[in-house]
Symmetry: C2
Subunit: 252 residues, 2 copies
């Protein structure tokens, strides 16, 4: 059975989803819709593109890969389409789609980078829908892209979204500080890349609590003091102290 | 030319270095020395093992893969050996080996896990030595294990060590918080593994400053407030606020 899709959005999530669905035999991306034609070039010459939200083709599923703030407004445009309307947001409740019985969520739990298309094979797709038939439809879509398809309610999805802020946004900020420290002392930050990757890879074998290492974990006051003497930047020193103390508390 | 090594230590670094050097044709691990015979089992039946620091065989290089605090004391035992004495510590100055002209550092910049042997191919080996001939000797050793061999002085090495605390120890702590948040709401932390790995993998294409994403980066107050309302744990909330503000300052 062929499933037809209309994709709304022009950002990194929309572009990645487009490319992924475009390559699935049993799924037809009927159209990509966005306000700005220039931003639709990724789909041009492959499928129909459209900037007019009042001219919407029929489809089984309308996927709104738009910013969180725009979901409610955009969903409104599709309320008479007859199709299933889903958003792709981790932090947005299902209800934001509007008070209708064919709403859903299709949330790929990953960080997408401008201009970089990645494989969906290993990306968890988190699903929710107001009715079972539509949930089943989303499961078919999810499984066409990924090995990992999960049914999560809006609270569970929000939990993941907040945890993702820590493991992605804040972790990336730790990388930023690491790069700053290297730059200040003319050391190549790239030397730390293998360490960064292994830190992530360790999770395959150990929980993060088990794999915690370092001077704070060991209670090695001498090294902690030496480091604090060496770090000149006040913000870096504050972070170093706060996080070291937190690790000491957790493991002490 | 065969290079002979005596390896001192029984921890994760010693075990990983042993296995790596043991597999190199032109290097002979003559002996592994440690205080506790039970902890030397990883080398038993492969090379000579020894618990007596007064019975040291002749070797070209003595590698002290011992804890930072023990380096000075252990180095003392080897001062009359005639060989090159090196430590493997990121945070320890070369001089700690003692006031002699055949001292060095052989620092593999990686996190080692108990019971997990990893390939040294991509691990940067950071070298330092008091004289050029010994530095050359260490370069041969380094290149026998890794593609990346770097000459760094003690200050540069300390810089990397501190940056490593941020990108490894503190990053792992972010993973720990992420796991806690998931556990509190009965969501499987494993769903975040692909995100964690992609966050690290992005560094191949973008600097961390460029790849920063999330509500703090976007200045998305609504999501920040929603998250803070949802997070019940006080420490998690404090961290969330502090790091979000730091990201806002840096990118605002």
């Amino acid at each position: 059975m062929m499933i037809t899709i209309v994709l709304v959005g022009t950002g990194n999530v929309a572009q990645n989803l487009f490319q992924a669905f475009y390559n699935v035999a049993d799924i037809e991306v009927k159209q990509v819709i966005g306000r700005n034609e220039n931003h639709l070039s990724f789909a041009k010459n492959k499928v129909s593109i459209n900037t007019d939200f009042n001219q919407i083709p029929t489809a089984d599923v309308y996927i709104l890969a738009v910013s969180d703030d725009a979901i409610a407004l955009v969903a409104e445009k599709f309320k008479n389409s007859g199709g299933l309307i889903v958003h792709t947001s981790g932090g947005t409740a299902l209800e934001v789609i509007g008070n209708q019985n064919r709403a859903g969520v299709f949330y790929p739990l990953q960080t997408f980078t401008k201009g970089k298309l990645i494989s969906f094979d290993d990306i968890p797709i988190c699903l929710e829908a107001t009715n079972k038939t539509d949930l089943h439809l989303l499961q078919i879509l999810g499984k066409s892209l990924s090995k990992t398809v999960e049914l999560l309610n809006s609270e569970q999805r929000r939990t993941l979204h907040i945890a993702a802020v820590f493991v992605n946004n804040f972790t990336n900020y730790m990388y930023t500080i690491g790069e700053e420290i290297c730059a200040e002392h003319m050391v190549d930050f790239k030397l730390l890349h293998p360490l960064i990757k292994e830190t992530a890879a360790k999770l395959d074998d150990l929980s993060p609590k088990e794999s915690q290492t370092g001077p704070a974990k060991r209670g090695d006051q001498k090294t902690l003091q030496n480091h604090l003497k060496f770090i000149e930047n006040k913000h870096q020193r504050e972070l170093y102290t706060l996080l070291s103390n937190a690790i000491k508390c957790k493991h002490g």
